[in-house]
Symmetry: C2
Subunit: 413 residues, 2 copies
């Protein structure tokens, strides 16, 4: 993979020009993407910006995020060739920080269930996960050092786990979702993929103009709460093992580690996620569902068919449950610095029919808390398994510092 | 003005066909809009839907709200002729309820400060207010029974007061803002204009599919807190008088009325509004401001020039202040059923150079609470003055019931 931090160091020192860094990415895409299929559209004549902390950094943009000079097709034929008027704010933030947009990355249709054609770079017989399939795969394959994705259920953390890359789903609305095709306005969150946790921190700091997110001093003895989210069902052996390894390794590195049973209010909030998501999706995608029914992607359409009876009162109760859950979670973070849990139920499923299951992600999306995937173990078939580091709402710097602690402990193992 | 409730009654009874109701509106637009200038674009071949509670109801859509079959120009030459792919969800909700979209209504550029060309139907020498200028004017002039607007500072309640129509800015996100050009994602709120409070209630209930919003039994003895928002400066005499008349009339009608001094936390939240709005506007409008600078509307551009130094830390503190304000306001609603305050500083300003001042609206937009404008008095020049009825977050039914109490009391006066 391409380390963003390493590129920045070489560019800052004059060892590498921004244009040469971009050219490396373009060559890697030329060489690798014919088999991986991470990009659905490439920019022409890409050059490095002359300034900004992300000069020389080639970025892929998930194709539900508006770009003024590239099509934005939402992974659906309904938007074939569609050209938005404006860049989404988060794309402008990348450009203002000096990054170069090299193309649009494959997404499941409307960032939902219908798979993209992208293959998992770690094992092409398996899905890269979704919905941010192309963004995770492009970073994992070493094509680009940074990519944008989005998460409504588990669409950033899960593909990052399946592809063995670092990723952050920041606190809700730290990155604006304006100009991002909406599925659920209470849940949709823009996230980043990169080779490692420091790379994420540097990119997020540059994009948001928040120096407090830059990598700082390491946490010495974090208080870690390990949660298994029993309400979400049992994980597969590979994820169970990854969590055990990460927790044991963190403990040996000096962390105080203990198991935490999440209160019933959080099990209820976990249940509420789908009601919020599907009720809002019926409104957000009303034009597509009601006027383009035949052209709708089949798995998403079937889900909308199945969920069209949700009443406003059920939605209101689901939102109240989410609010109760947020308060309960806030109390947990008075006792621990971070939570450690599964990033996904197991390794990437075989084949491309399913992008995997969001059941270990959706509670945290609904809570709006920052989540980081840290690659932890490699299972049979060369398939990576990540763990998920979670911090209090608004404490993205803490989530990144905690994830770096886990990442460094695992590297020393 | 055209009463939506009365149209519904006549259509339900078979006294009037949906198509005849639509035709009345189209004829009124033909006759009146040459002088008023409420519409920037008209739909062709408009017919009534065969079913739904809003069949026969002609609706105008503020021209920052996406429509698939009409241009959406944002009041700016940057979007001249722009055609979105999809209808905004709120437009689809109107259509699903049976309403007919008859055209797009004039908006200040990007729903900000640069005025539209619309005249005030009550006195053409005065502004109709903004930013939802065309929507307020079209309802006030009797062209249409219902119009959609949006409010980020005071863009629904203020033009309603200036034009003498009822309007509701519902609880934040009761109506989705997806497909509405974003200025500030924390503040932007879709609202409705109609002839009277019952019309608003019937429309909002139909659009949201929430029967609890339908007009019910009248409140007998509401507990009313009168607030003058001293931190926002003094009102003009006309608004002072309107509030006095409305409060006295409500008291005579049986309400318990008392003055409430808002706590300092709410004065601080009022201050925080601008920081939230302008920080987010710089992100939301980054593409326009940074790539279309010369074509930007001049007043908005000057404001963005002036506010570009707001730091993320200042924005974070403003959001925390808003949260503290929301909690303080929640405590006030344990003691009163509704707040009554100014809708605007006075009558509509003369001329079209300014659409007026948001200082009595912006706190309530930031709080996300439902606000209703009720026309209260007529000042010199035939210019109406409204009062603002406010209820607890999520209690839109209560806001409408309280507004109806005030409206009925004023009608009996």
């Amino acid at each position: 993979m391409i380390s963003l931090s390493e590129l920045q160091r070489r560019i800052d020192s004059g060892d590498l020009s921004g244009d040469a860094a971009i050219a490396q990415s373009l060559q890697a895409i030329d060489a690798l993407d014919k088999t991986i299929g991470a990009f659905v559209c490439r920019a022409e004549n890409v050059r490095s910006s002359g300034k900004g902390p992300l000069r020389g950094i080639a970025v892929g943009i998930k194709d539900i995020i508006d770009t003024a000079d590239l099509p934005t097709e939402m992974g659906s034929k309904i938007y074939r060739g569609w050209r938005p008027r404006a860049d989404a704010p988060v794309v402008m933030m990348l450009k203002q920080a000096g990054a170069s947009i090299v193309g649009k990355t494959a997404t499941t249709a409307f960032a939902s269930r219908d798979p993209a054609a992208t293959l998992n770079p770690r094992n092409p017989d398996h899905t890269p996960g979704g919905s941010s399939s192309g963004s995770a795969a492009a970073v994992a394959a070493g094509m680009i050092p940074l990519a944008l994705g989005t998460q409504t259920g588990g669409s950033v953390i899960r593909p990052a786990s399946f592809c063995g890359v670092a990723a952050i789903k920041p606190s809700f609305r730290l990155l604006p979702t304006v100009g991002v095709k909406c599925f659920s306005w209470t849940l949709d969150t823009v996230g980043l993929f990169a080779a490692g946790v420091n790379d994420l921190a540097r990119a997020l700091s540059a994009v948001t103009n928040r120096p407090e997110l830059l990598p700082g001093a390491a946490i010495e003895k974090p208080r870690i709460g390990v949660v298994t989210q029993d309400f979400a069902g049992a994980p597969e052996a590979a994820s169970s093992e990854a969590l055990r390894v990460a927790a044991d390794t963190a403990a040996r590195a000096g962390a105080s580690v203990r198991a935490i049973a999440l209160p019933e209010l959080l099990a209820e909030a976990w249940q509420a996620h789908e009601t919020v998501q599907e009720f809002e999706a019926h409104q957000a995608l009303a034009w597509e569902y009601l006027t383009q029914y035949e052209a709708m992607p089949s798995l998403l359409r079937a889900k909308l068919d199945e969920t069209k009876g949700i009443l406003p009162a059920e939605y209101d109760e689901a939102r109240r449950s989410a609010n109760r859950g947020r308060k309960a979670l806030g109390r947990i973070f008075e006792e621990v610095d971070m939570l450690l849990t599964f990033s996904a139920p197991g390794v990437a499923p075989k084949g491309l029919a399913s992008t995997g299951d969001t059941r270990f992600n959706k509670l945290w999306t609904l809570m709006g808390v920052p989540c980081v995937n840290v690659p932890a173990t490699i299972a049979t078939g060369g398939l990576p398994v990540g763990v998920q580091v979670i911090a209090r709402f608004g404490n993205d710097a803490g989530a990144l510092a905690a994830a770096r602690f886990v990442e460094e402990a695992l590297a020393r193992k």
